[in-house]
């Protein structure tokens, strides 16, 4: 726009822009304050805390990598990362494959769809604490539901949460039960976008059911499969409520997870430096996954 502007016009224009900016920042102020206080500042503070010794009475002392060193030497540190990794892997094996297969089967059914969908999503609507406490009762080695059912089919009962062998998998079962529904419904929505012609073409080429799934369904839903994989890794690595309510990290640290250890450091031992160091490490790991996730979802949309 090469219209020559007079001084007055420029001034007026400046006034309009200034007013618009003032209004805009007025609208933004509430969210800006909340984001600053509860998102941006804590990110910065986490880094600061992890390099400080701070008892919140005396002024904090910079201690360099001391917090990280002491956390590394804690025997629970290694268990926490191993358990978190194993938990995530198991949760993926069970909680990633099963929803997709469930969705595949549900998509083929022509009856009872509404019921099945409703039912699979029901546990998702329970507050997680309720689901976990419910399963705590099911896991009870005595009158608990699971051992009773095992007894019905003449299998020996398990000690579930009380044994180092079964504790972690017990947590995975709860976690899968309460989260399966959302994955299933998301896959179901994705499956319905697969064009019919592709299946017809595959069928004309003589592809059987499994090859149709392999060569049509999976490639067509690849993006959502990948995105859900990353989201699930990010979500399950933050596991806290299951060990907190079911096992308290035991038996013998078999179910300590990173977030649980972080919580213990801060609120049981009063060591916010060590806790923040753990939080920072987990943050970096999760940010890598998040970055990949953003990459994937941006490249494909």
């Amino acid at each position: 726009m090469a219209v020559p502007q007079t001084r007055a016009a420029k001034g007026r224009r400046f006034g309009i822009i200034a007013r618009r900016n003032i209004t805009a920042y007025g609208f933004l102020s509430g969210a800006l304050i909340c984001f600053a206080l509860f998102s941006w500042y804590p990110m910065f503070r986490e880094v600061v805390l992890s390099f400080q010794e701070n008892n919140f009475v005396d002024p904090p002392v910079w201690v360099g990598l001391e917090n990280f060193k002491s956390v590394f030497q804690d025997p629970a540190f290694k268990s926490a990362w191993v358990n978190t990794g194993v938990f995530t892997l198991l949760a993926l094996l069970v909680g990633y494959v099963i929803p997709f297969m469930t969705a595949l089967v549900l998509n083929e059914l022509r009856h009872a769809r509404g019921y099945l969908r409703f039912v699979v999503y029901l546990p998702v609507m329970l507050p997680p604490a309720v689901s976990v406490l419910l399963f705590k009762w099911f896991y009870d080695p005595g009158p608990g539901l699971f051992n009773q059912v095992l007894g019905l089919v003449h299998l020996p009962g398990l000690s579930w949460l009380d044994s180092t062998d079964t504790a972690l998998i017990s947590l995975v079962i709860v976690s899968t039960w309460m989260n399966l529904g959302s994955g299933t419904l998301i896959y179901l929505a994705a499956l319905q976008t697969v064009p019919s012609e592709l299946y017809e073409a595959a069928e004309l080429d003589g592809a059987g059911v499994f090859r149709r799934i392999r060569h049509v369904t999976i490639p067509q839903t690849r993006l959502i499969l990948l995105v859900m994989l990353l989201l699930q890794v990010i979500a399950t690595m933050q596991v806290f409520i299951e060990p907190y309510l079911l096992t308290g990290g035991g038996p013998e640290d078999a179910t300590v997870t990173v977030v649980y250890l972080m919580y213990q450091y801060a609120f049981n031992f009063g060591n916010f430096g060590g806790g923040s160091a753990l939080g920072l490490m987990l943050m970096i790991v999760l940010m890598v996954f998040s970055a990949v996730y953003l990459r994937v979802s941006r490249d494909n949309t």
Partner: protein
Amino acid sequence: MPHPTATRPPEKAPQKGPAPGRRARRPFPSTHRTVLSPYQLNTRWGRRAYWAVLTFIVMLFTAVFVFPFYWMVTGAMKTGEEFAQIPPTYTPPRFTLENYVEAWNLMNLDRFLGNTLFYAFGAWAFALAFDVAAAYALSKLRPFFGNVILLMMLATLMIPPTVLLLPMYLTVKDVPIVNLDLLNTPWAIWLPAVANGFNIFLLKRFFDSVPADLLEAAQLDGASALRILWSVILPVSRPILGVVSIFTVVNVWRDFVWPLLVLQEQDKMTISVGITSLSANTPQNVLVAALVIASLPTIIVFFIFQRHIMVGLTAGGLKG
């Protein structure tokens, strides 16, 4: 055989269970082609296999997802003795709400439920007010540094709040600059609920799609920015406001770790944290009754808003 290739018509989900006695003569409805072809399904063996699989799936799903609920509701009707009995009784011994009443009175459930409702409602109000205003400013008023702010807000999506628990807790305990202690106040729930990058993302993307002509017409009539937001943008944004509302309320209702840290006084607790804190000192059958009561509100909400939740879920999953 003509297959309509468009997406399936809006959910006519046949609610009928398997009716093997009435082995349908008419062909299976072939609205949208899936892995199996209608032809395969309509062969004799296809039909048999289909009904077998359907029956199996319905039974399996009922056992895995409905039976725990049955066990919970009936378990809460048992006396302490019957509750611990081995082998257990499978049908409700008698219909009684005794344990429910006891749980309600003994565990202050009215208090916890009221608190949670209050927190959820406040979080909803603040999140909606502040996030809508912010997304509107970023989308339509476009101030200086608007894009930087948007980017910084979206960047928070990369860092799950769980890893920031400790510094967030310390912030709430002693808010910088104003030095307020928000622990055990509703603000500790309400304000962090506003800092939700996903809300901003959803709202801004929706506002971006509101045609500029609409706004210009209002601007020419001399409407203020607030007026435009209220009378032009909000009325057309109902769907997205619904999704954001449901997400916010459900998040507050389900959240556990954060209220566990910031609302530690017994009479300030949310339902999840409250029940957990009392669980050790409560007889198991009463505790289970409390669990039933705690799960009712969300399940009722689910019944009412089923469709919206599903839409929001798939939108969130696909586009998040």
